[in-house]
Each structure stands twice: as C-alpha cells, then as structure tokens.
C-alpha cells in the first residue's frame, strides 16, 4: 500500500463509515446537543433579563417606599401638630372655663360676705342699741354714791360688753 495513493478499499470503507457516522451523529447527537445548548443559553439570557427587570422593579419599589415613607412622615407630623393644637386649645379652653368659674365663685363669695357683713353690722347695731339701753337703765336705776364706785361700775360694764357676758346675763 502506497503512502500517497489512496487505497480503494479504505476509501470505500471510509465513505460508508463516515456517512453513517455523520448521519448518526447529526441526528442523535448534534441536533439534541445544539438544541439544548441553545435552550439553555436562551433560558440563561431570559433569567438574566428578568433578574435585571426585577432589579429595576426593586429600585422602583424602593423609591416608591421611600416617597411613601416621606409622605407618611409628613402626615404624621401634620397629625401630631393637629393633636398638639387641639390639646392646647382644650387646655386653654379648660383654663378659661376654670378661670371664669373661679371668678364667678369669688364674686358669689364676695356677695355672700358682704351680705353677711351687712347682717352682722345690723345685728351689732341692734345689740349695741340694746346694750346702751340696758346700760342706761342700770345707770339710772343705781345710785351713784361716789365717783370711784361710778368708775368701777362703768369699767365692769365695759368689761361685760367686751366679753359679751353682760348681754347674756341680762
């Protein structure tokens, strides 16, 4: 067999074998392999794409959240402020009401006091009048022998007035 002359037998065997090999490999090996490689690449590409999408959605969501958070904070501040205002208003109103009530009570008390004072003064006046009358009676009914006795009587009388006994005793 020569080195550079193709042998007939080997050529025929090679033609047959290689054709069969080509057919079998193309049909049962390369087609499924290339198909699943393509599918895998596609699915990886898809996965990467959807991951990218998810990422951008996440970012969107995050920014949404942030803005919502900000808004919530603003709303909270508003609500707090309103509550504070309301509290202040209530407190002020209560204070005002209390003050008014106090004032009203003071006025009432003053009225009462003045009324009582007037009554007391009236009573005092009538008592003083009665005492004066009884003193005068006693003075008149009793003989005034000497001035010292006179003095004594007057001072005891005055003493009695002071303690209020005289009126009770009489």
């Amino acid at each position: 067999m020569d080195l550079v002359t193709p042998g007939t037998g080997l050529t025929v065997w090679m033609l047959i074998t290689f054709s069969i090999l080509l057919y079998l490999l193309v049909k049962f090996a390369w087609k499924p392999i290339l198909k699943s490689l393509k599918e895998r690449e596609d699915s990886i590409g898809q996965a990467l794409k959807s991951a990218e999408e998810a990422k951008s959605q996440m970012a969107q969501l995050k920014s949404d959240n942030e803005s919502m958070f900000k808004q919530a904070r603003v709303e909270r501040d508003v609500i707090l402020k309103e509550a504070k205002d309301m509290k202040d208003a209530i407190v002020a109103e209560a204070r005002k009401a209390a003050e008014e009530e106090g004032k009203r009570m003071i006025i009432k008390a003053q009225d009462e006091i003045s009324k009582q004072k007037v009554a007391a003064i009236g009573e005092l006046k009538s008592q003083v009048a009665a005492f004066s009358v009884s003193i005068a009676e006693k003075l008149i009914s009793k003989k005034l022998e000497d001035s010292s006795e006179q003095q004594q009587i007057i001072s005891s009388l005055v003493k009695d007035f002071g303690t209020g006994k005289a009126a009770v005793n009489n």
Binding site: T8, G9, L10, W13, M14, F18, L24, S36
Partner: protein, 373 residues
Amino acid sequence: MPENKRFYNSKTFRFLLVFSIFCTFGLNNAFADHQTEGVAEEMHATEAHAEGETAKPTKFEPGKMILEHVKDGYGWHLWGTTTIPLPMIIYSKSKGLQVFSSGHFGHNPHYEVYNGYTLNHESKLVSEDPAENFYDFSITKNVLALLIGSSLLLIIFLSVARSYTKRQGQAPKGLQSLVEPLIIFIRDEVAGPSIGPKAYKFVPFLLTIFFFIFINNLLGLVPIFPGGANLTGNIAITMVLALMVFVVTSFSGNKTYWKHIFMPDVPKGLWILLIPIEIIGVVLKPFVLMLRLFANITAGHIIILGFFSLIFIFGEMNQYLGGGVGIFSVAFTTFMSVLELLVAFLQAYVFTLLASLYIGAAVEEHHHAEDKH
C-alpha cells in the same frame, strides 16, 4: 483596469497563489519521498536477497519500519512477531467474494501464498495470476482503526447527547463539560464568524469533521493496540474528508458563488483565462485540505518513529551507544508527543476552520457596495 486589480487583490487569487505554491512543494516532496523510499526499499530488498541466509537476518531497516507503521496494513502489528490478523475481503470476477484471515499470509518478509493471493515485499496484496482483476475491501489496520474511532465517537457523543436531554437546562457534568467548550468553540468561534448568519446549518457537519479528526488524531498517538494507527495521516481518509467538504461547499453554493466562478466580473475576453483558474481554485481548496492533514499527521508519526529508530541504529553499532542515544530519544519523543497533542487539536481546528471558510465563501451574500472596491 480596476476590475483586474480587484481580481489580483481578491481572496481567491491569493488562495490560488499560496496554495499552488504549497501544493507544488507538497506534492514534489511527497512524491520525492515516496520515490526515494521505494528505491531504498528495493535496495534493501536486493541487499537481503544478495546476502541471503549468510548475512544477519534481522538487520534493522528504519525506513522500512517507519513506513510499515505509518502506512496501512493487513495485520495489526503488536510486538515482535505478534500481529493481530485481520479479515481479508477480496472480490474478483473470476473467483467471486472471498473472505479469509490475513494470518494465512504469515509474517514479513516471507509471505506465503493463500487462495492464490500473497503480499509482495511492500506488503501489498498481489494475485498469483497477474491477469486477475480484483477489488480489495479488506478490513485493514486503518479500517479497523476507523471503526474503533467511529464507535468511540458514537459512544461519547450519544452519551453526551443523552445527558443533555436528561439534564435539560442544568449545568454540564462529567464528559458533557469536557466536550461542551469544544462544541461551543466550533459553533461560536469557527463556524459563526466564517460562515455568517447561515452557520447553524453547517455546525453539525463541522462538529462531526472536527471531532472525527481530533479523536482519531489522539488515538493515533496512543502507542498500544486500539490506537497507533495512522488513520488521519492516511491519504484515503483525508481525501474522503476533503471530498465531503467539497460536496457540502458545492451543494450549498449560492448564485453569486457560481457566478463568480463561471461568469466573473471581468471583460469577457479574460473569461477563457479566469474560468479555468476559478475551477482549479474550487478543486484545489479541498485538495489542499486533504494534503495538509495527511502531511502533518504522517510527519508527526514519522518523526516519533524516527527518534526511536535512532536507538536501534546506534544500538547496532554499540549497545551502550544505543542506550545513551535512547535517553535522548525518549526525551525527544516525549517532547514530540506533547507537541503532537497540540498538533492533533490544531490540525482538527485548521481543517474545520478552512472547511467553514470555504462554506462561508460559498454561501456569502455579496453586497454590491463591497464589490466596487
């Protein structure tokens, strides 16, 4: 003339120029080698005859040894006189189909006659009757290697295909992850850029070509039985591979491709010159594919065998010298084997790349804007 200038700058012209030079050298060298080897063998044969039984019967003949290993054979030589006999299948009009074992011929150099056939001193099958016309379809060493290699390819890729369908959409595993980068490499780096958008149609064919050459190149480097045959360094094998590329290229060639060959854009007077050149170019492309693979792989085998021959050449002079040379030979052969591993991949790659470039040229859609410059 701008059109002429275009032609001289065209890819085809450059291809033609380079490849015709390559081809001339390649052919000359191959024929020259062959002739000198033939002469050498004849000389050896006459020497052996002249010396007869008195001379040393086992004189080492490196040329013969190397050629025997590089060429096809009717038996698979293992060691010493141990050879696996292979079936002979011969068809002749007078005797019909004959099948028998090659073991009946006995051993080199004293072949016996069996069934009216024997092997000559070049281990070539000859009939006793010189007028007999016979066809030899024997399962030779290379046919067996071809069957082994093809079975191996089927086993590997059918199992890989099965794991692809079984583990759909999952990461590759085992053998699958070993071949997947190569498959993707051929698909995306070889077929894709050279063929263009229609590449997917040719990827299965190119993958078959690539892995056939690659696996058989590697098997050829294994020195023991299932390997060691110089299959991809056999011109018949590379011829069929190149023929396949030629057939695929020609059948997928579009209108512009054929128009470029049979009606080039040059004045009609030049057609008589150009059309034959273009036709030669079309034939030359696969021819070069055939020669390149054959020459590269055969050369690798010859170099490795040559280094081993050195041991015995020097060993015949002096045992210790042979041993000393042996150390260098083993070192060099190891180096060469590693280099051949690279060559095994490289040649498979180059063959596939050029095949896809040829296919790419055949299916390329020519844009008129591009044609103008």
